[in-house]
């Protein structure tokens, strides 16, 4: 199978043929800021670009408070906040409720409160395990933490990782978003995933005669990916991101 050859002229011509509305790009950015909870950035972006968010920005503050509480290990606090926000969320979502309780247990173990942890596991988590086989398995894994002297080096040690907190936090975040009829994931990362897919397809099926173009395209992409796909929590999100993302995507977005 021979690859299709695309010349520089052809490539640029195609790119120039595609018009993207600035408002659409702004909406995409706003969607990202709102979903990820960068409330200040969203507010500033709204003022600067005139893009209206599809959700009351005040609700973001509440959601972020919950998310932050989980990220800091204050699970009990997070649960109370979610219940104040909307008591239906945890009442109708057993899996999320279990994961929050599990996180609470993990925090107790992390803080060396063995007695309290055991009591909590027995009182609160064991009944959930009886209701659901998967929960029981997860519970057993968590309680196994108590059996090891050096928890950081045990087979289930990853439960104590910060990533476990982040996982739980993003689950709560998603549930609150869903309860507010908002998509639980920002659109941008999936667009980027499709972008990478498209790029791979291009690599597979065509030869771009204009090497430099492709390289610059990759550099931009990597930069963008670093900015918005990174899952590491940033305590104070900066407004920098929205200046970069539209520019980063602009040249290649039409391929999607």
């Amino acid at each position: 199978m021979s690859k299709k050859v695309i010349t520089r002229e052809e490539w640029e011509k195609r790119l120039n043929d595609v018009k993207i509305r600035k408002e659409d790009m702004n909406k995409l950015v706003m969607n990202f800021l709102v979903t990820e909870g960068y409330v200040e950035a969203a507010e500033k972006f709204r003022m600067e670009s005139g893009t209206e968010p599809d959700i009351d920005l005040a609700t973001i503050t509440d959601r972020m408070a919950v998310k932050k509480a989980v990220q800091c290990g204050n699970v009990e606090d997070a649960i109370e906040k979610v219940n104040d926000l909307n008591p239906e969320i945890l009442d109708t979502n057993p899996q999320l409720f279990f994961h929050l309780q599990q996180q609470r247990l993990i925090e107790l173990i992390r803080n060396g409160k063995v007695e309290e942890a055991l009591e909590f596991a027995q009182e609160e988590l064991a009944p959930r395990g009886e209701e659901n086989q998967t929960f029981l398995e997860e519970l057993e894994r968590t309680v196994a933490l108590l059996a090891f002297e050096d928890v950081s080096n045990c087979p289930v040690g990853e439960l104590l990782d910060i990533s476990q907190r982040l996982k739980t936090a993003s689950e709560v975040n998603a549930a609150i978003l869903t309860s507010q009829s908002h998509e639980k994931d920002p659109k941008l990362p999936s667009l980027l995933k499709m972008l990478i897919w498209a790029q791979n397809q291009l690599d597979e099926k065509t030869t771009l005669l204009f090497e430099r173009c492709q390289r610059s395209f990759c550099v931009k992409l990597r930069f963008v990916r670093h900015e918005c796909l990174g899952v590491a929590p940033r305590p104070s999100p900066s407004c920098r991101s929205y200046g970069v993302i539209p520019g980063g995507c602009h040249g290649v977005a039409p391929r999607l």
């Binding site: 109370e80 239906e88 945890l90 009442d91 979502n93 899996q95 009944p127 209701e131 507010q180 009829s181």
Partner: protein, 720 residues
């Protein structure tokens, strides 16, 4: 802080709910709420400790304290969420009017809290029915539905889903212009959309008038919107859109004629199984409902590999899939396999039967029932039945075990499955007898529960079908003549019918078997006769006549007994019951009656002439002479045979043979037809061939075919 930890004990918290000053009260209330949300066990223990009435007291007493109102409403809502005892406690404590009052509070947060709690209550089956036909109620309801508040509109929609049951209520809602508003809500928030789809399905269910109204709204845009929502990103929305479309399709099929939509619905529902949570749990139930009793849809489902995909879910699932989902998948499989042999063989080839067998021992009664239903459908396969595939110990033992189940509906489901499995041509019936099944079946046939009685007798009837003498004896020994007689006299006609059918099978197959009905001073035959004379249900009469037909195949004494019971007695009725049946509108009853005459006038039996004379005297012969052109083909042919026998009862053997050849051709034709349709049982075929070779006498061959045909008919009736 050990002190505060101790004071968070449920008892202390509840104490503070009643006696603390308002700040501490609010704190305690909030603590209770946070403890019970998401936690079934805590809800139940707080309900037991009497927390609910105290919270209702707070709700009732807090006029303008928004925080207390919100917290108490939220706590009550959580008690009502997912726990029946909680709903009951909330309703019994009189919370309902107080929560309704919150809906007119000026603080939107209070309104939200009240609406959410009421919504939870209305999502439970225990909630009181909201009478939509009362004008005042309807007004209030419409004010809710048209509210700007999201939670209040969702509440209104759940009121519809909970309370709209009759077509009058559906019509009242349509007349109040509820449909356009619901369609508006389809563009609303996620919760509104789902609630709206749910209520639309409720209003359109089985109501073609409502459906045509709905379909014509906005030039059909409403219907298209719902179809569009089957592709929504949220699984629950997809499911509810499917439910709505299915309701439309059932109420007025012509709106859902497009094959494409149906295939898509099946595909969407199967795909939904991949979703964790409620949508995935409920999807197989919806699928089962969609394809129930619809062979065309089952074919479509088979075409998109539904059997394979459902079985895959069962096999891939973790050790124990959630009970609800397990049940749903089994029910969907049961529907798929209920009519199509192709589905059954696919199911068996995928080795899915083993999973169903483990499901028979599941902790959850609903799963056990679903597994029984599945086996019932699979065992409709005559091909596999006659190959003895279902009579292995591994299948029979757990099914028999379920006959002892504490839950009646499980016992009934197990009886259904067993009824099919025991319809067997080979001698596998032994497995049942060895497993003590007969003993328990007999026990159940004496149950106070009429459903159990009915199905136990049905199973016994099928067990006696084509059974050999030893097995029949063992059934009768366990059952006893007197129990059988009392079953024939059962107050429920369906049980009478099955009991007579059981007798029919017991007396079938030779003079020895017929003797059973004459045991203990003929208590059985007397019971049969009594039912035949006085029963008003056609089905009972049909089975009764078949019992007499079978008895009439016996020796002279047997035939005489039949004559005695069916002809009017001196001083009794003036007209034979046979004439009444022959004049009946039900062709099956006419057939049964003519069969009886055929057997009574069977040529070459010593007293045939005398019997023909008596039948003539009773006006029966002239009655069947009027039936030579009966609209029912079956009746018509049998009438001819009967007439030939009555007219040529004493004719030469050659004439008889001629008559026989005619019969032979006819019954053979029916036999082959039935065989092709029903079974390719190796066992039966070889039996048939053997019979052909050894039966030199043409007449015997004829009677063999006739009785074979008769068995076939019974088989068709026996299988459910």
């Amino acid at each position: 802080m050990p002190a505060s930890a101790a004071s968070n004990r449920p008892e202390d918290l509840i104490g503070r709910l009643s006696y603390a000053e308002s700040g501490a009260k609010l704190k305690a209330l909030r603590e209770v709420k946070n403890q019970i949300i998401g936690n079934r066990t805590k809800k139940i223990s707080y309900v037991k400790l009497g927390a609910v009435p105290r919270i209702v007291d707070i709700l009732a007493a807090s006029e303008d304290d928004a925080a207390l109102l919100i917290q108490s409403a939220a706590a009550l809502g959580s008690f009502a969420c997912g726990v029946d005892a909680g709903v009951r406690a909330v309703l019994d404590s009189g919370a309902y009017p107080h929560l309704v009052r919150l809906l007119s509070n000026p603080d939107p947060k209070v309104v939200d809290a009240g609406a959410r709690s009421l919504k939870m209550i209305f999502q439970s089956k225990l909630a009181p029915k909201y009478d939509l036909l009362k004008e005042k109620n309807m007004e209030f309801f419409l004010s809710l539905l048209n509210s700007e508040n999201e939670n209040v509109t969702e509440l209104a929609a759940s009121i519809i889903t909970h309370s709209c049951e009759t077509s009058t209520e559906q019509k009242a809602l349509c007349d109040a212009m509820v449909l356009p508003r619901l369609i508006c809500l389809l563009d609303g928030s996620l919760g509104q959309r789902d609630a709206s789809l749910d209520s639309l399905a409720t209003i359109l269910k089985n109501n073609s008038e409502a459906v045509s109204k709905f379909v014509s709204l906005n030039n059909g845009r409403a219907l298209r919107a719902v179809i569009e929502l089957t592709k929504d990103r949220y699984p629950r929305t997809r499911l509810l859109a499917c439910v709505c479309l299915i309701a439309i399709g059932i109420a007025s099929p012509h709106h859902m004629q497009e094959l494409e939509i149906k295939t898509k619905l099946i595909g969407i529902l199967i795909k939904l199984l991949e979703e964790p949570g409620r949508a995935g749990d409920e999807a197989p139930f919806t699928l089962a409902q969609l394809i129930a009793n619809k062979e065309d849809l089952q074919k479509l489902a088979f075409g998109v590999k539904a059997v394979e995909r459902l079985c895959n879910f069962l096999q891939k699932a973790p050790l124990t899939p959630p009970a609800k989902r397990f049940e749903g998948i089994l029910l969907a499989l049961a529907e798929l396999c209920s009519k199509l042999e192709s589905c059954r063989s696919e199911f068996l080839s995928l080795q899915a039967l083993n999973i169903v067998l483990t499901a028979l021992k599941h902790d959850c009664a609903e799963v056990r029932i679903a597994a029984c239903n599945c086996i019932k459908s699979i065992s409709r396969s005559v091909k596999n039945l006659s190959a003895g595939r279902f009579t292995s110990e591994t299948i029979v033992a757990p099914l028999v075990q379920l006959l002892y189940d504490p839950v009646t509906s499980v016992q009934v489901a197990a009886l259904h499955a067993i009824s099919n499995i025991v319809v067997d041509f080979t001698n596998h019936k032994l497995v049942f007898i060895q497993n003590g099944a007969v003993k328990q079946l007999v026990q159940l046939s004496k149950s106070m529960d009429s459903k159990l009685r009915l199905n136990a007798v049905w199973a016994l009837r099928n067990l006696a079908f084509l059974a050999d003498r030893i097995r029949k004896d063992s059934i009768l020994q366990e059952l006893t003549i007197s129990t059988l007689a009392s079953l024939i006299y059962d107050p429920e006609p369906p049980i009478q019918e099955q009991s007579l059918a059981l007798v029919c099978n017991l007396v079938d197959g030779g003079v020895d078997s017929i003797e059973h009905v004459f045991l203990e001073d003929g208590v059985i035959i007397n019971a049969v006769a009594k039912q035949v004379w006085r029963a008003t249900t056609t089905e009972v009469c049909i089975q009764g006549m078949y019992v007499f037909s079978n008895i009439a195949t016996g020796n002279e004494l047997h035939k005489e007994a039949v004559m005695h019971h069916l002809l009017p007695q001196a001083g009794g009725f003036t007209q034979s019951v046979i004439i009444r049946f022959l004049q009946g509108t039900e062709s099956q009853l006419r057939t049964a009656a003519v069969w009886c005459i055929i057997n009574l006038t069977y040529p070459e039996s010593p007293n045939v002439l005398d019997r023909v004379a008596r039948l003539r005297q009773a006006g029966i012969i002239s009655q069947i002479k009027n039936m030579v052109n009966d609209p029912c083909l079956d009746v018509k042919y049998r009438v001819r045979t009967a007439l030939e026998q009555c007219t040529f009862g004493n004719c030469s053997i050659s004439l008889y043979l001629l008559n026989g050849v005619h019969w032979f051709g006819f019954s053979l034709a029916i036999y082959w037809e039935t065989t092709v349709l029903l079974l390719s049982s190796d066992a039966l075929l070889s039996r048939c061939k053997l019979a052909m070779n050894t039966l030199v006498n043409l007449r015997e061959m004829i009677s063999f075919h006739v009785s074979l045909f008769f068995h076939m008919l019974q088989l068709v009736k026996a299988l459910r």
